[in-house]
Amino acid sequence: MIKRLAKCIREYKTATILTLVFIVGEAVIEALIPFITADLVNQIKAGADMNLILRQGGLLALLAMISLVCGGLAGFTCSKASAGFAKNVRHDIFDRVQAFTFSNIDKFSSSSLVTRMTTDVNNVQMSFMMLIRTAIRSPLMFIFSVVMAYIMGGALATCFVIVVPILIVGLLLISRKAMPAFRRVFKKYDRLNESIEENVRAMRVVKGFAREDYEKEKFGKAADSICADFTRAERIVALNTPLMQFCMYFNMAFVLLVGSRMAIEGSGVDVGQISAMITYGLQILMSLMMLSMIYVMLTMSAESAQRIVEVLNELPDMKEPEHPVMEVRDGSIDFDHVNFKYSKNAKKFALADIDLHIRSGMTVGIIGGTGSSKSSLVQLIPRLYDATEGSVRVGGVDVREYDIEQLRGSVAMVLQKNLLFSGTIKENLRWGDPNATDEELQEACRLAQADDFVRSFPDGYDTMIEQGGTNVSGGQKQRLCIARALLKKPKILILDDSTSAVDTKTDALIRAGFRQYIPETTKIIIAQRIASVEDADMIIVMDNGRISAVGKHEELLKTNQIYQEVYEQQTNGNGGEEHE
């Protein structure tokens, strides 16, 4: 896990190493200063002359300046390193997600990916910064200070033998107890925030049932329980301060009492040493405190790191061919005894025993209830998923042998859950063909029956689409998505329930346009409405992952029960048209 993340440092290795160097420099000097000062104090006491004081003082001032420069530079380099590290982590995650196949994407919800790229990266960045700033500095400071204290204080330093273990044990105990408590609380806290979100989202229900007071009471209870847990956890952590204070005071009292005795008895301790011991004592205790903080922080962010690495280690499960076929000859499609399931562990095949042959230029309709695997069937054609058994061929060649970009360039698919991106209509359309001229854009839109309404917008083709395409209606969005797919000039066009929000008249116009203007393109249309497929050259009725029947409208009406039922329901049973 750490190894994988460490790879993200890359070009910021210099900044990282420089940070460490500067910080070591700062730490060394900080440890030296009290040492030299003590010497100075003693010399002053011994009645040194001005020259000596100035020389010693000048040296000290120089050291402090170096330390200042080191500290300042370290501040810059460590910010650079940590911001850069975070950037690279985000970059790697994003790149990896771009390499994901559909089945990889299915594993992670989009909101969880967003959290990983924001909150989790942020946590890891903070830890990284903390790590390079203090993880070296604190142990160094600790060691230096202990060594210096022994060199200088001699016997006086024995007090650390007493204090340090007390502090270490105390800090360990506290973080041991506090960490699980915090982890529990944070989970609970997340849940509380989720419940607030739930409440905000459901406000119409809350108010509709006049449940304001009930919600207040419910929230009050949950908040109180969290408050109790939080307080308990924080009170454990709050013990840190008195513990630290105790150690510091112990050190002070010990040095004063023992030190003064030793000084007076003349056993090699002088006043300067007493002063230095107090300073070192402080440094030792502070560095231990910092270490315990890092320990807590690292363990807390370990979960974030885990979640990030999970994405980075997710391998795209599709292999690219070594000698890819670069051209799709025509729009013929063949399914040879295809079985398909979404994951290895799935018990049931989503598609079973599919044997299907579609000639180039045909119009094919697919009908079937929810869960009959209509979408699964067509998703195998542009190789969004790989068939588990059997093979899918496009233009006579197995889809696994194509260069994937070429294949998907020739097979345009309008997904059921389709999206426009923020940007102008033009920009969105050019996803289909980055080099399309304005005329080509308009032509595609005319074919998709979108030109009229686009022109009716004040800004026409330069109208901004908001995130998620919320400022165009469902039917308009669907037609723009079709136009976008048409711009690829595909050999195969797949519409996965892509006209459900378009009225029947427009729907019919779109299909008529297809017949007239793109006769060579193979068109596959998945639809809920019989009207959308009844004039197709071939209609496939899907049921529970299998092909129930293949044929033309009239044949199916006579022979296929499912088709009959759907037809009945739509013409008589429910009456009229659906407008969704």
Binding site: S79, F102, N199, F209, V271, G575, E577
Partner: protein, 652 residues
């Protein structure tokens, strides 16, 4: 809605850099109010803990005096050549006294830190509850005009900034302030000359903190904006990942992301660099001061310069050593204060936003007509009763003569010439007149934005009408207490919202005192019992994340059961079945039909099959009713409805 958001964004954007710029005098009103709340909630604990903070702070500057005295003694005894035995009697009591101080100080710091943990969490808890409670009472308009993400950030980010303020910033400032002050006095007690030298360094520190700290706050706010941009982009791309794949658009996305990512990195670098540089610089200026003072002290001593101090003490080594320690303390505390600048700026911005939420105008309710359980005598007179009779009546006290009349609850809703606009000057409903007699089914048909949902928003008073009148059982709905009005209206919406909890809890939401049997009966009525009892845990199945483990149709059925258990005389079904496929709808429809029986129902649907059997169908266009009548009548008229029905016209 969007205008409003950008407006608030712009407002907060303008405000924050401004605040960062004049960080020394942060919006006093906010701070005062915050402190007022804290003291109000904790009138004893807070002063006690502040007392403890001050005591600890003072106590931590006392050792300097002892240090000075002990060292002076050591000097003396060393010079006089007397042994430890003699010195013991002088030094040991001093040290013991010091230890006594320490014990007190540790006790006080323990009390303080424990109290602060309680106060911080307790304060946040109360704040959360106040915010949440206030939010429940806000009108629907507030939720329609604010992004949910923005509302959530009050509870997450803004509360967090306050946690920092109360638990960290406040104690640090008090403690550091007191220490700096008391150390300062001890210093001038010993030597004014040396104190003056130190003050030069302190001035430098303040200057640096102001410069660097201010920059840091400014860049932090800029970074926050970059973070938001990045988050928006990532969100959009992660949602559209499958579309990206289908169009082989990965490389273009990567390069777009690279730009945004680089910008964020740059801003994060600048913000962090400012914050990270400040600490070491201040600390090392402190080190420098330490060295300089050691030198100056040494020089004074060597030169035998006259001391100038409150105590009148002469320069001695016993002054210089504690003075050096105090220098460390002094600069260390100034460093701590400078580290808090960011937190203060953020906390003030957070507090201001939170107060903004708390100060939102709650939904007003002047209604005085209430809904009561009724007993109907054989002669038709109605009397109020405590127990649940299954019959309800409107209790209408007349202010003019002090009498009370009871009107039976029937579900007769009439709107006369209603005009309405969500925003001043933009009328979205014009002259809408609707009569719905008890038991009738009234349908609204029309394009998105035609005003269908708006009409239902007016009936349950989510919004108040601008002109015209609405009568419920003959009573002006403005006179009816809102909670009672809404209790008599059941709603099922297109977006089903279920709550975390069991299926049973969710159904019971419609009527909190419903028994299990009543809930199951309602589920049966709605046609939901079937699938619920087939789930492994039946009615005790836990629902999370808005019932993510259920299908859309199943969620819809639970929502219908929830409305059914409330047993209201009037129902509003707003696109209740639109996201269900035809096959499931056939099942849901049965439940709906059972539910609608004997109630006044307002139906909004895209699917004309759902509305066909209504008593009256209203076709709305741009806020006006353009056609009204039964299905047969409207078909015969061959107008807008006919076109819709035959599919020649698009409904979106």
């Amino acid at each position: 809605m969007n205008n409003k958001q950008t407006e608030t964004e712009v407002r907060s954007m303008n405000k924050q850099p401004q605040m960062a710029g004049r960080k020394r005098k942060i919006n006093g009103g906010v701070l005062k109010r915050l402190m007022g709340m804290l003291f109000h909630y904790y009138p004893v604990m807070l002063p006690l803990s502040i007392f403890c903070i001050i005591f600890t702070a003072v106590a931590s500057s006392i050792p300097n005096i002892f240090l000075q005295q002990v060292i002076a003694e050591i000097e003396e005894f060393q010079n006089s050549g007397m042994g430890w035995e003699a010195a013991k009697d002088v030094i040991v009591p001093k040290v013991l006294l010091l230890i006594g101080f320490y014990v007190l100080s540790i006790i006080s710091i323990t009390v303080e830190s424990q109290l602060m943990a309680v106060i911080t969490q307790g304060f946040l808890d109360r704040l959360r509850k106040t915010m949440f409670g206030g939010m429940q009472d806000l009108p629907i308009k507030y939720f329609d005009t604010h992004k949910h993400g923005d509302i959530m950030s009050y509870y997450t980010n803004d509360i967090d900034t306050l946690r920092m303020l109360v638990s960290q910033v406040m104690p640090t400032l008090i403690r550091a302030g007191v220490i700096v002050l008391s150390v300062f006095f001890i210093m001038i007690y010993y030597s004014i000359w040396m104190t003056l030298v130190l003050m030069v360094g302190v001035a430098l520190m303040v200057l640096v903190s102001k410069k660097v700290g201010g920059g840091s706050a400014r860049y932090f706010l800029r970074m926050q904006k970059s973070v938001a941009v990045q988050e928006g982009f990532v969100q959009e791309m992660m949602n559209g990942q499958k579309v990206i794949k289908v169009f082989c658009h990965e490389e273009a996305c990567k390069s777009d992301f690279k730009k945004i990512n680089d910008a964020l990195c740059e801003d994060a670098y600048l913000a962090n660099a400012h914050a990270n540089v400040l600490g070491p610089v201040i600390m090392n200026i402190g080190n420098l001061m330490y060295v300089i003072l050691a030198m100056v002290g040494g020089l004074f001593l060597v030169l035998d310069a006259p001391n100038f101090s409150l105590s009148g003490m002469a320069f001695e080594i016993s002054i210089i050593i504690p003075f050096l320690n105090m220098t460390k303390q002094f600069t260390g505390n100034i460093n701590q204060v400078s580290q808090q600048i960011n937190s203060i700026v953020m906390a003030m911005a957070g507090a201001e936003r939170i107060f903004g939420l708390m100060d939102e105008q709650p939904e007003t309710d002047d209604g005085y007509v209430t809904l009561v359980n009724a007993k109907v005598a054989p002669d038709g007179t109605i009397t109020e009763t405590e127990e649940h009779t299954g019959k309800w009546a409107w209790k209408h006290p007349h202010q003019a003569d002090g009498t009370i009349t009871y009107t039976p609850l029937q579900g007769d809703v009439r709107m006369f010439d209603v005009d309405f606009g969500y925003e001043e000057g933009k009328t979205v409903l014009h002259n809408v007149t609707v009569y719905a007699e008890p038991g009738q089914k009234v349908a609204f048909v029309g394009a998105t934005g035609a005003g269908k949902t708006t009409i239902t928003n007016l009936i349950n008073r989510f919004y108040d009408i601008a002109d015209g009148k609405i009568r419920y059982d003959g009573i002006n709905i403005n006179k009816i207490r809102k909670s009672d009005l809404r209790r008599s209206l059941g709603i099922v919406l297109q977006d089903t919202n279920l709550f975390t909890g069991t299926v049973m809890d969710n159904i019971r939401y419609g009527k909190l005192d419903a028994t299990d049997e009543e809930c199951i009966a309602a589920a049966k009525l709605a046609g939901a019992d079937d699938f619920i009892s087939r789930m492994p845990d039946g009615y005790q199945t836990q629902l999370t994340n808005n019932g993510a483990n259920l299908s859309q149709g199943q969620r819809q059925l639970i929502a219908i059961a929830r409305a059914a258990v409330a047993d209201p005389p009037v129902m509003i079904l707003d696109e209740a079945t639109s996201s269900i496929d035809t096959r499931t709808e056939a099942i849901v429809q049965k439940g709906m039909d059972a539910l609608m029986k004997g109630r006044t129902v307002f139906v909004i649907a895209h699917r004309l099959s759902t509305v066909r059997n209504s008593d009256v169908i209203m076709v709305l266009d741009h806020g006006r009713i353009i056609e009204r009548g039964s299905h047969e009548k409207l078909i015969a008229e061959k107008g807008q409805y006919y076109q819709l029905y035959t599919g020649a016209f698009e409904l979106e």
